[in-house]
Amino acid sequence: MRALRRLMRDRALVTGTVIVSALVLAAIFATPLANFPSHVTGFDPAFRLKPPGEVFWLGTDRMGADLYSRLLFGARLTILISVTATLVAVLIGVPMGLIAGYFDRWYSDLLMRISDVFLAVPQIVLAIAIAQTLGPAIQNVILALSATYWPFWARIVYAETRSLRNEVFIEAAIAMGASPLRVMVLHVLPSIASSIIVRTTIGMGATILAAASLGFLGLGAPPPTPEWGRMIAESREFLPQAWWYATAPGIAILLVVMGFNLLGDGLRDAIDPRIRRGS
C-alpha cells in the first residue's frame, strides 16, 4: 500500500518533471527543432490555413505560417512570461509576508489588509484592467500578472511565519541576540522554503493560464508574436474548418500547466510528507 502510494506520488513528480523539461528544451532548441524557423515573423500566404500534413505537421495559420514552428517559439515566450512574472510576485510577496508575520505591529495588519484588497476581486479582472491600461506588450503582461498575484505568496508566508514565531528554535535565536533580519533570513526563510517552492511551482501554472487568457483577449503580445492564447483567438474566425488552428495551442497550454501542477503536487509530497495529498 505504501509502496503504491509512493509510486503514484513519484509518478506525478516524474510526469511533471518530464513535461516541464520538455517545455524548457523546446524553448532552448526552438530553432533547430522548428521546420520553418523563419515563421516566427515570416509566412507564406499561398499556404494559408492548410490542415496538418507532411510539410506542416500541425497545419498553418491565417497568414500561412507553420503552427508547429510557432508553437515551439511560443514556448520561449511562455517561459519568459511565467518565470519573470512569478519571480517578481515572489520578490514582492515573500518579504511582505515575512515582515507582516514576524513582527506584530500595526503595519503587520496593514500589510495583510493591503494584500486582502488585491484578493478582494478576481485576479484576472485586475490583470485585464492593468494590461489594458499599459497597452498590449509582453512586459506589460508580466507586470499585470506580478502586480495581481503577489498576495498569494504574502499570505502563505505570513501564515507560516506566524506559526513559526513561537517555535523554540526561533525564540532561541532571538534570545541569542540575532537581529530580526538575521532571524528572518537565516531561520524562518529556510523553514518555509518548501512551501514557497511548492506554491511557486503551482503559481507558474496559474500564471501561464492567466497570461494565455490575456493573450486570448487581445491584451498580450501583439502579432506576429507566437503567443499561444493569441493564436487561439486568431483561429476563431476560421472555425470549424480550421480546427487544428485552435486545437494545437490549446493542447500545448493544457500540457504545460498540467506539468507544473503535477510537479508542484509531487514536490509537496516529496518535500513535506506531513501535508496530506489533495488528490
Binding site: 503514484m8 484588497v117 478576481p122 486570448f216
Partner: protein
Amino acid sequence: MRLLALALRRFLWMPPTLLGLTLIVFSVSHVIPSDPARVLAGENAPQEQVEALRRKYGLDKPLPQQFVRYVTDVVSGNMGVSLYTQRPVATDLVERLPATFELALFAITLAVLIGLPLGVVSALYRNTWLDHGVRLVTIAGLAMAAFWLAILLQLLFSMQWNLTPVQGRIDGWGPDPITGFYTVDALIRGDIETFLTSLRYLFLPMITLAIPAMATIVRFTRAGVLNVMNSNFVFYQAAMGLPRRVVIWKYILRAALIGTLTQIGLVFGNLLAGAVVVETVFSWPGLGTYAYNSILQSDYNAIMGFTLFTGSVFIGMNLLVDIAQAVLDPRGR
C-alpha cells in the same frame, strides 16, 4: 461569542478594503493613455466636441478631485453613469446580474452533483483504476484554459454536431423578467419550450465553468474523506464493531461533506472570476462581458462599479465561509 466578534471584525474591515480596492482600480483605470471622451464623441468628432464631453463628465478635473468626488458619490448611493451605455452603472449591473448568477448557479450545482460523489468514490476506492482516472480528469480540468475549453466545446457540440447554440443566452428575446433567471421565469409561466431553449443555451457555458469547479470539489472531497478515514476517531468507531457501511455513511461522509461545503463558497467566487473570460467567449450578457467591454472602452465608472460590486460579493462570500466553517466545524478554529 468569538464567532460574533470574528464576523463583526470582518464586517468592519469591509469598507476600508473596498476603499482600497476603489483606489487601486481608480489609479489603474485613470492613468490610461486612452481618452474615453474621444471614444464617446466618435470617430468623426472635432476637438471641441471632445472637450465638451470631457467637461460634462468631469474628466478635466485633477485626479484626486475626481477620486474624492467618485467616493462621495458612491457613499451616497450613486455609482455614476456609464460613459458607454449612458445609463446609471447600478442599473446596468442589476440588469446584468441575473444572467451571471443563473449561469454560476447552474455551473456550481453541476459541479457539486458530479464532484462530490466522484470525490467520495475516489477516496473510498483509493489507488484503483477508478481513482487514477478521476485524478487524471481533475488534474486536466484544472490545467485547461477556460477559453480554449469553451472553443473546443463550441467546435464539437455546436459546429460539428449541431446540438447547441454557439453563443448567446436565448433566441433573440428572452421571456419578460420575473426573477431575471430565464429558466425559472419560463417555469413560472409554464412555458416549457422557452425553458428547454434556455437550457440549450446554458449547456456549454455551464460545462465550461463547471469543469474546473468540479475538479476543485473532487480534490477537496477526496482529501477530506481520506483525512477522516485515517483519523483515530474512525479507527475507534470501527474497532467498536460498527459495520463499515455505517461508519462510512454516518461519520466519514458527514465530516467530509461539511469540509467541502465550506469550500463551495470559495469555488463560487472563483467561478465568478472565470465568468469574465467564459462569458466573453459565449457572448453571455452578464457581468463578465460587461466588465470586459467596459475595460476595453475605458469606461471608468463602469469598471469601478463592477469592481466594487464583485469585491463586495467576494468579501461577503469569504465572510460566509468563515462563519460556516466556525459553525459547522468548531475544531477548525
